[in-house]
């Protein structure tokens, strides 16, 4: 045990306290608030609301797939609009916004021991621009022609042509404008998250003492800041093509017997730009989930995280590697075989740091004092689901296996498992974990158990069969396949079964929403630190934390975030701001 200095020898702070904006009215306190915690709740509420829209859209899709021809109002055009909006909302407006805008805003300042984000005003603007982006997106549902139906990848040329819903109407324009707004808003927030971690850590909070949640969100934000510009460029250029008649992406093309004015553009250029953003986006969603799940497992297994350093390196390594794998989404677009070889290799290499993380989670659980609380259940479910989804990723990363499987339900099953269900499970776990800090009350346990088991088992019953549908050759993005020979009777039954499960799982989410609202008033009182956790957000003097987070003095950090079950210590956890040494911490390998 190396106790570097006695507790009383804390050097004085060299940097003055930040000046907080003090709200004067109800409006500036709860609506135009500059408090990161209020902004976090605004972000989360907006993301959840738009996420519910995406959930309903998935129900409509499943109605059509499970019971084709039964519902007249679901035309093929409407079906395309449903899949497009469902994908876009879930990936960008829900997952990205919730992880970075929601959890990032709430947890970063509290976990690093800061009063607030470093640029609170810009942080507030970030939320309002995000809200504007969401409103523009929603408005496309009411625009003439409806929202765009180009698929969430918005591939040109079809995205801006007559045959695609919204292609020559308002749909695609509103979609692109909304994305551009989202990116501007996100950049404002992202600057805050990064600079707060860099500059506002409290004394003693070195980078290597940060909880992995902060590492995950921090790295994901850096990646997002570098990846979203690619989407921005793609959106601006496509907007030019659609509105001003340029030919960045549009080749010479005949539409309805008429030669369009475009010529010579390259749809592949769009794909490069889109996936240069699109692949890092997977990890922008996954890395915060990795970080949060590490903290959940460590806290609820009462054991220090196994291989903390390796976890940090793996997060940074995955972040860097994810920028050189984008073309594995484009194998079927055609490329030089050596490029295919290169991108398949880099794709498979990412499995190494990812596998390290999975081993470390499992080894943290090994001989831990596992409490099967609801956050822990979700964390365990995440590990299983992520491994499952990751393994099918190995199939699709290989060019020769990918080509026949491309654009089948197998791909749908893969990405829903790995970047849909897995991160959502972490979000649920994280909400059950931090809800007591946000509201001061626990979520209802019985409803939580119901929510967990229905969601976890139900998600498997939805997405596992999809792998088989994909293997028999069922393509994705088709509104109706009843007349095709691959659509056997059993495949059809499986589709109906998946649809029914989708409704049941969706219903469980309504129960969860009810729990969220009901527990604000009727939940059990939680106290300041119900999980007996070590990180700083649980050590605030008030729960929920007030504006400024901590009391008069900022906490001082004396240890890493994972001092659980330290032999010789009185309790089985030692908060980060408790000085002194207690026996020997178990040393991870």
């Amino acid at each position: 045990m190396v106790d570097i200095t006695p507790a009383d020898a804390v050097p004085p702070a060299e940097v003055g306290e930040m000046e907080l904006y003090h709200p004067h009215s109800w409006w500036t306190k709860y609506v135009f608030s500059q408090d990161a915690k209020v902004i976090a709740i605004q972000y989360s509420a907006t993301a959840t609301a738009i996420g519910m829209v995406a959930l309903v859209l998935s129900w409509l899709m499943r109605l059509q797939l499970g019971f084709p021809g039964t519902f007249d109002f679901i035309t093929p055009e409407a079906y395309y609009q449903f899949i497009t909006m469902h994908g876009m909302i879930m990936v960008i407006y829900l997952l990205t916004a919730l992880f970075l805008g929601g959890f990032g805003n709430y947890l970063i300042p509290l976990m690093v021991g800061a009063r607030d984000m470093v640029f609170p005003y810009v942080n507030m603007l970030s939320y309002w621009i995000y809200l504007l982006a969401v409103l523009v997106l929603v408005s496309s549902f009411f625009a003439p022609g409806g929202p765009t139906g180009a698929g969430w990848t918005l591939y040109p040329p079809q995205a801006i042509m007559t045959g695609t819903p919204g292609g020559q109407d308002w749909g695609i324009i509103l979609m692109l404008v909304s994305l551009i707004l989202f990116i501007i808003g996100f950049t404002m927030g992202g600057l805050n998250y990064v600079v707060t971690v860099l500059q506002a850590r409290t004394r003693g909070m070195t980078l290597m003492r940060l909880p992995l949640t902060v590492w995950g969100i921090f790295t994901a934000t850096v990646m997002a800041l570098l990846a979203f510009p690619a989407l921005f460029v793609a959106c601006v250029m496509m907007l030019f093509d659609r509105a001003l008649g340029t030919s960045f992406f549009m080749p010479a093309i005949v539409e309805m017997g008429e030669q369009l004015q475009h010529s010579g553009g390259s749809p592949i250029l769009f794909q490069h730009l889109f996936w240069f953003f699109g692949h890092p986006e997977v990890y922008i969603v996954a890395l915060p989930a990795f970080g949060i799940v590490s903290d959940l497992i460590s806290t609820h297994a009462r054991k220090n995280i196994f291989g903390y350093r390796m976890m940090v390196w793996a997060i940074v390594g995955i972040g860097a590697l994810s920028f050189v794998v984008w073309a594995h989404h484009m194998y079927v677009s055609g490329m030089h075989p050596y490029f295919g070889f290169f991108f398949a290799t880099t794709t498979l290499i990412i499995a190494v740091p990812t596998a390290i993380k999975v081993y470390n989670w499992v080894l943290t659980l090994w001989r831990g004092d596992i409490h099967l609380t609801i956050p822990m259940l979700f964390a365990l479910a995440f590990i299983v689901t992520f491994v499952n989804g990751g393994l099918t990723g190995l199939f699709l990363g290989n060019v020769v296996v990918d080509v026949p499987l491309s654009d089948t339900m197998f791909v749908v099953a893969h990405f829903h498992m790995v970047m849909g269900v897995a991160p959502i499970l972490v979000i649920f776990g994280a909400i059950y974990h931090w809800y007591p800090k946000v509201t001061g009350r626990m979520l209802n346990e019985a409803l939580g158990q119901f929510h967990f088991w229905v969601t976890f088992l139900g998600a498997y019953l939805i997405f596992f069969p999809m792998h088989y549908l994909g293997l028999v050759g069922l393509p994705r993005r088709y509104a109706e396949l009843t007349d095709m020979t691959i659509m056997t009777e059993s495949a059809h039954h499986l589709n109906s079964f998946i649809s029914i499960m989708a409704f049941i799982v969706g219903f469980a989410q309504l129960v969860f929403l009810f729990n969220l609202i009901w527990s604000i008033r009727h939940g059990r009182e939680a106290g300041g630190n119900p999980w007996r956790a070590t990180t700083l957000e649980w050590q605030t003097s008030e729960t929920p934390p007030v504006h400024g987070n901590f009391g008069k003095e900022l906490p001082i950090v004396y240890r890493w975030a994972y001092d659980y079950s330290v032999p010789g210590a009185k309790e089985d956890f030692i908060p980060q701001n408790v000085p002194g040494s207690f026996g020997t911490s178990k040393e991870p390998a």
Binding site: M1, P6, L226, V233, F240, F323, P579, S585
Partner: protein, 234 residues
């Protein structure tokens, strides 16, 4: 996509250099307490606003690197016809350089506490930056009256798109510069004023650098330069 990859390589190099100073090899589970080197690691001595701007400039750099990547990829297709750059761009470049120099003078004067020079520098920078924007608009008009319209050739489209994007960034910078200038007149605290001017200067120098790179790109020198490099390598 090679331009953006090179840009990212630079970013990764910088991040790696920074991380290597953060005791990534330490064993946090063995170290308790607080010591001098822990405190030094808390944060950088640079003002937080400067670091924030630095991160933002990295994002802006990324944006223009991506436009450049797209430019080169689109350029390789057969329908590309380079457009003649208006001579006016040379004058605009000079004006933008002047703007940057004026801000640098203001920054130096602020450090020495010469408020009158500061005001002069700020106003000069503002006016020259506006002049640059007007010059760019005139160049656009010149091109469009000569028949080089936005949609008639991808080279034209890229010209308008990239110069427009750069102009928007200057416009945004002018908002910040306007606030700083107003502060100089309304008697802002000296250290606050100095920080504001330094931030403006940083932003201006960066946008000047971006403009020079864009100019080289649009004039075709960048492509020639890359060709030469490629021939040297093969």
């Amino acid at each position: 996509m090679s331009v953006i990859l090179v840009f990212l390589l630079v970013v990764v190099g910088f991040v790696g250099w920074w991380l290597s100073h953060q005791r990534l090899m330490s064993k946090p589970w063995l170290e308790q307490g607080m010591a001098g080197d822990f405190v030094a690691l808390d944060r950088s001595a640079l003002p937080t606003a400067k670091i924030g701007l630095g991160v933002f400039l990295a994002v802006v750099g990324c944006l223009f690197a991506l436009f450049t990547s797209a430019y080169f990829m689109r350029m390789a297709l057969s329908d590309w016809q380079a457009l003649p750059l208006p001579r006016l761009l040379w004058l605009n470049t000079g004006v933008l350089v002047l703007s940057s120099v004026a801000l640098q003078c203001a920054s130096v004067a602020a450090r020495r506490g010469q408020l009158e020079t500061v005001k002069l520098g700020l106003v000069t920078a503002g006016i020259t930056a506006l002049a640059f924007l007007v010059g760019q608009l005139v160049a656009w008009r010149e091109l469009s009256t000569e028949g080089y319209l936005l949609s008639s050739n991808p080279a034209n489209s890229f010209f308008y798109l990239i110069t427009g994007m750069h102009g928007l960034h200057i416009l945004g910078g002018l908002v910040g510069l306007g606030r700083t200038t107003a502060g100089a007149w309304n008697g802002a605290r000296p250290e606050r004023l100095r920080l504001g001017i330094e931030l403006c200067a940083m932003y201006w120098h960066f946008l000047l650098f971006v403009w020079l790179a864009i100019f080289a790109l649009l004039a075709g020198w960048a492509a020639t330069f890359i060709d030469i490099c490629r021939q040297l390598l093969t």
